[in-house]
Symmetry: D2
Subunit: 340 residues, 4 copies
């Protein structure tokens, strides 16, 4: 880190900063500029709380230099990670093939789920999404079928071979979800539920981690670091749109996150254009854009009857729309030397 | 809700919307305007998922009319709620007195905590804050003292009579935190941890609920509704700054939330100027502004030695600064016919 | 519009709203719901100031139904507009071919401009960008070469046949810029400089209008409407990234704006991935994503020596990078049945 | 500035950075850390374009150290500036008295303006606001009375002695507005209309400069610097709310800007709670909060008949509400050792 002193800071103030830096077990390098003095701190300060220095007399600000995450970083592992989806076909996320995870927002019934599972499988999906435990903004909204929903997902896997991706909302659900699911999804609202991240890190199934709705990429990678630091390296990062002032979409899909995450991390990146826009009519073009930007996978809400969906009808596409989308992203994938 | 049809929508499309509205058990009122047709939906649609209608052919958008929360709403309870802090002095939040909750970001040691507890008590605080379980962005940062910290908080209460306000991060911590604390704090990162909200609603201690870092007021009140709908009416709403593009602060303190929450809800409103700015030198003026805006309480980070604070040093004020702040808000409180 | 009355509003209050609606020359339709009364307003209220109604006793809020723009709207003109770039090759924006406008951020010298102009022309660009009048955040930064820069742009057109796209910052520059340029660019900071919009509408050259850094799409289209309502229908909409809390980019490129603008407007949409990210290493993938999303054109900063660029070096790509990008977007364009 | 090299950057890359730094006329100081090398740049780099360095091989990022503004900075002038309002009473902004500028959003008629002018004067205002040239989002909305409105403002000054504060939207309006007005207002949409800033800097009347709707404080102060660098030191900074994701307000009023601007600049700070919330029922409490936070002035929309206001009815308060607000801020002003 770099400690920037105020204009007019005294030598005593600089000395005091130096003393505090040394107390942290770090070394300093004082540079007296023409207008400001800065104290460059030498050593691994990744795990130090630098904010304390900001309160010291004569200090203007403290600028971090090192990224605070390590295991998720490309500095530690140069080659891209391949994360297994644990489906019957051995599909992995992060390789040449752009994996598509599709299915309803919520598991609603056996018929609904199986109908959609078969349809998306046939059209090229390798994963099946579907919520059994649903985080809902309102306590009065449909909260999901719970374990009964997980059983239906397991049945769908048995029938189709699709890898099951489903959300876990709480530490005490980890065991039951991990029992049925192939990939544990941690939702945007829980990206900084650190107890849940730890629990996901302590079990063996891969984790699809969604970016919080106003998380920075650094916070996002630190959430992945929580999981990885507990021993689970199989983390997929999922961009699902961020909250901005925009009104025509539910969230603003920030596709530059794809190349940027690939630049700083070795983890694969999945895009959720359904949450990422909130509008079914924008999903198709955002799927194409995501694949063109280099996404390793897509997770898409597909419903056999969106008009009667219990949740997220507005952003669910029909089976037919899904089929057309698959055709169009196959062409895009080829154009970036990948397949789908 | 109002269903706005697209320009050029057909009578069949309107009819289909009407059919779907009736399926929901609601009534419709079709208004044919000069440019658009709208379908006004009559009845309590508060708990219906309106998004499904947005996917219907011919529909442009669906506009909600009713607020989706009920128990937190002023429509249900006109007079302001008084929430007890359960301290020795019987202080309540929401009345004439502006309550001040002060203390360190984290409980770090017996000496640190007691020193600050005695100091803030003497200068007029009625609550003591201090984290034992700490939500930290990085897995490598200090994670709090856990139950040992709770014991120190209980000791501080015994010595000072201050009501203890401390954070609970997970469902399985609710019992132990409720055992020691007077008020359970739910942090911004957990505002939509619905399992935790439910658990907080099922225990008897009052809850200080922080607004999520990019939550709308509607989402904030729905989070309160989760707690209330489980039987716990003692909820205090805490505005702690929102995430915006601004760089000179850690968060943007949105003080208009005070009068707006008072307008739509009966719950008391507390301001956190420490998180709300992230800069100790901005705390004093934001405390004054908060009281002037009508806040029912303040929660403030105070440290006996901010330079060596294990967490959030940059936003902690010293004992002396706290004393000066208390003097200045007392004058403001008097100017708005309250006391502090 | 729909006027939503407060819960508990009186019949007198509703009657007063009706009176005000009629004063506006509009008709009303009062709907008494189970919890609220709403007054649906019939007639073209596009040009009425609805905010006045929000201040009326008993009114909760006023919800607009009609989009406030007209000439820019797809409701008025269903087929996509083709906007001529006025270059030697007769290229138009909005057709099958994705047009690429490339060149330096600022015109700096004859050699610099011509070198880049020839290079981008050879690799497939049809337009040449380059600022002669530069809007700079700091008064001490390079402000552009002024008319001398415009002369160099004209020289570059003469040598290459590229259409010249350059910014006009003020009403009194319109004549001189229109004299040399083929397309007038109005920058993000001037998107709501209404006098400039009017002046651009009163001259005959096409206009490339950039979205303001925190403009909604509605505000963006109303800015286009200013130009069109003065008689100039040749407007291209340019998305150049919006301001959000994100830190790793200069702006967040909101690519869902492409399909959404195409959905509500007939005007062509151009993407600026240079401003839209602020990082040269993100430009390539965002160009691909933009074309995949359906963009009609790209405007890209290219410099023969980015290390010594007087402005925006960080987001400028080299000639070689431009060449590779052109190859990759050609493949994407083909995959969406277009060409580049 | 500090140039942070990538992990693994080569000595040649560092040397090349050093060469570029020296080309800029600056000196370097290379610090080889345990994980990264950084190049600290010594000398006044305030007016250099540092972004070019970000494009250099081996460079991770460039961190600025010096604030880019100078004349607006407290480093140059320690004591607070007093800006004259040029009214009959010699009122200045920035002193002990909190100045109140009040009046209609738009000048609509002689009767409307004079009625309000007399009312606000009587209740303690020292400035009269009122738009003659109106920046309107829609080309179809009321655009203001133009010079006729300026004449009415001059008449109101003659009758009341209030200082006239009115907006200038374009360079070619500067002369006529300066002829009638005492203070030139530059609106949020024009904060980065640099030609207008220059023109305002070249004429003698004081300027009330509004913060752009998503401007950083640094950009805001650089806009002030434009005016000051042309010779006009009489600039008042006006915070009027920023654009965020919040929906219950038109803008989010960021009151921490008051102490922060006072910390880094000597210029006085005015708050606009009308634009800053967009809701008349939030104005009163935000006026109190602004004064408590240390604001030097308020600018408030007051209308004799908000229901029939041609513009901004929703955020205009009545004469009676203005009177009550004045009483309440007088008490707050006294509580912070000021007067109003």
């Amino acid at each position: 880190m770099i400690v920037v002193m105020k204009s007019g800071s005294t030598p005593q103030e600089v000395e005091h900063v130096v003393k505090l830096v040394r107390e942290m077990g770090l070394k300093e390098h004082v540079i007296v500029g023409t207008e400001r003095t800065v104290v460059a701190v030498i050593g691994n300060d990744r795990f130090k709380d630098r904010t304390a220095l900001e309160t010291v007399a004569g200090v203007e600000k403290v600028v971090p230099i090192l990224a605070p995450y390590k295991m998720a970083s490309k500095e530690v592992k140069k080659e891209r990670s391949l994360v297994p989806m644990l489906g019957a076909d051995g599909a992995k996320v992060g390789g040449r093939k752009v994996q598509v995870i599709a299915g309803p927002c919520s598991v609603e019934s056996k018929q609904q789920l199986l109908e959609t599972a078969h349809a998306v499988k046939e059209m090229g999906a390798t994963g099946l999404r579907g919520g059994a435990f649903k985080p809902r903004t309102s306590p009065y909204a449909f909260q999901g079928m719970g374990e009964k929903g997980l059983e239906l997902l397991a049945l769908a896997r048995q029938e189709t071979g699709l890898a099951i991706v489903t959300e876990v909302m709480a530490v005490d659900q980890v065991d039951v979800v991990a029992k049925y699911a192939d990939v544990l999804q941690i939702g945007a609202r829980n990206m900084q539920n650190f107890n849940l991240l730890n629990a996901a890190g302590e079990q063996p199934k891969p984790v699809l981690l969604k970016r919080g709705m106003s998380a920075t990429l650094e916070e996002f990678l630190l959430a992945a670091e929580y999981i990885m630091s507990k021993g689970n390296a199989n983390v997929m990062l999922c961009e699902r749109g961020i909250r901005t002032y925009e009104e025509y979409v539910r969230n603003t899909l920030a596709l530059a996150a794809v190349p940027e995450l690939h630049r700083v991390s070795h983890l694969p990146v999945i895009i959720d254009p359904s949450q990422g826009t909130g509008k079914s009519y924008l999903v198709d073009s955002m799927c194409r854009a995501a694949v063109a930007a280099g996404a390793d996978g897509l997770i898409i809400e597909v419903h056999n009857d969106p008009e009667h969906a219990l949740t997220d009808g507005a952003q669910s596409i029909t089976h037919q729309q899904f089929g057309e989308m698959m055709k169009s992203i196959r062409r895009i994938a080829a154009a970036v030397d990948r397949e789908s």
